[in-house]
Subunit: 171 residues, 2 copies
DNA sequence: GTCGCTGCAAAACGTTTGCATTTAG
DNA sequence: CTAAATGCAAACGTTTTGCAGCGAC
């Protein structure tokens, strides 16, 4: 028998990551983690890669590759699309960035960094992405994984529907 | 306080839908549901649409549009890709087919029909898709949705990793 | 000088669409 | 006769790739 308090089940996050108080220090630490990974692979942290990471830290929402590209262009107009895609891939490999599904079309990305794991509710009307976390859900998920003899690497859990505002506008 | 039996938490499904004992009757009922939907929309159940639905009922795994197209061609070589895509879309609209994400590339589809809701574990090595269901997970998910004031339309929960066999081969 | 990195353009990929033709009631 | 349905090929949006030139150690 499992007992649990009704209160502790679900945590909501604001729709975007909170910026750490010491932004510069945070940015530096991410930069360091990226550089470490690249070095280990025999690669380098170039100006372009740094710019792209920087844009991701500044963004307060989930961005498509194209949106990241737009932001990056503001800092350095010479950077090409291909570099953005290639860099996002590197950031995913080293665990700094996560891909989340969008309703249709292009993928969206978020800076995972040190944030706790969470899942997403995606509004099909306005595209807004809400985040939530439920340790209990994780628990039962782990149970299923164990039962199946599966080795989980990552997962995504996306709920599509209408956010409070869009639902209200409909009625 | 919520109490629950440790046993009843997670149900595994075989990696594909069990075929009903009376296949013909089942097929007929799905066909009927499709036809009802089409009629309501002022559309018709054509030979092509019937063939595509038939292929989906025969498949015992999750198929991409291209794989469905291949199966369909065996029954009627004249059917085009576009018709397959268009028909899958209709089947989704009337709730007979669900789309599930594949690791990369094309979407995969499954015949939802009367099957209970379930989620997926996707093996990144062999592509095998395992299914599981956990009422408790749904419960906490609903809790999160309620807290957020969200109106859920559908969701998907996909765990990527290695299945038992592929994991064994690695070690 | 080497090897990685880049931007560009072209290719690849899965999916959708426009259109002329066929089909069914 | 009309409206829907089809197959084809072209278009689409996103992502990947080939390649020649650039740049950093």
């Amino acid at each position: 028998m499992i007992r649990l308090r009704k209160d502790a089940e679900v945590t909501l996050f604001p729709s975007h990551a909170q910026k750490p108080a010491d932004f510069q220090h945070w940015l530096g630490s991410l930069r360091g983690r990226f550089e470490d990974y690249l070095t280990k692979q025999g690669l380098n942290l170039t100006k372009q890669r740094e710019t792209i990471l920087h844009c991701l830290t500044e963004a307060d929402q989930h961005l498509t590759a194209e949106q990241i590209y737009d932001q990056v262009k503001k800092k350095d107009a010479s950077i090409g699309r291909a570099t953005v895609f290639r860099t996002i891939k590197l950031l995913q490999e080293c665990g700094l960035v996560d891909e989340i599904a969008s309703l249709r079309g292009s993928a969206k990305f978020e800076l995972k960094a040190d944030r706790p794991h969470h899942d997403h509710m995606i509004c099909v009307e306005c595209g807004r992405i809400l985040e939530f976390q439920s340790p209990m859900m994780e628990k039962f998920q782990d149970e299923a994984i164990r039962k199946q003899g599966f080795t989980a690497l990552w997962h995504r859990h996306e709920i599509f529907g209408r956010c409070k505002l869009c639902q209200k506008q409909r009625s």
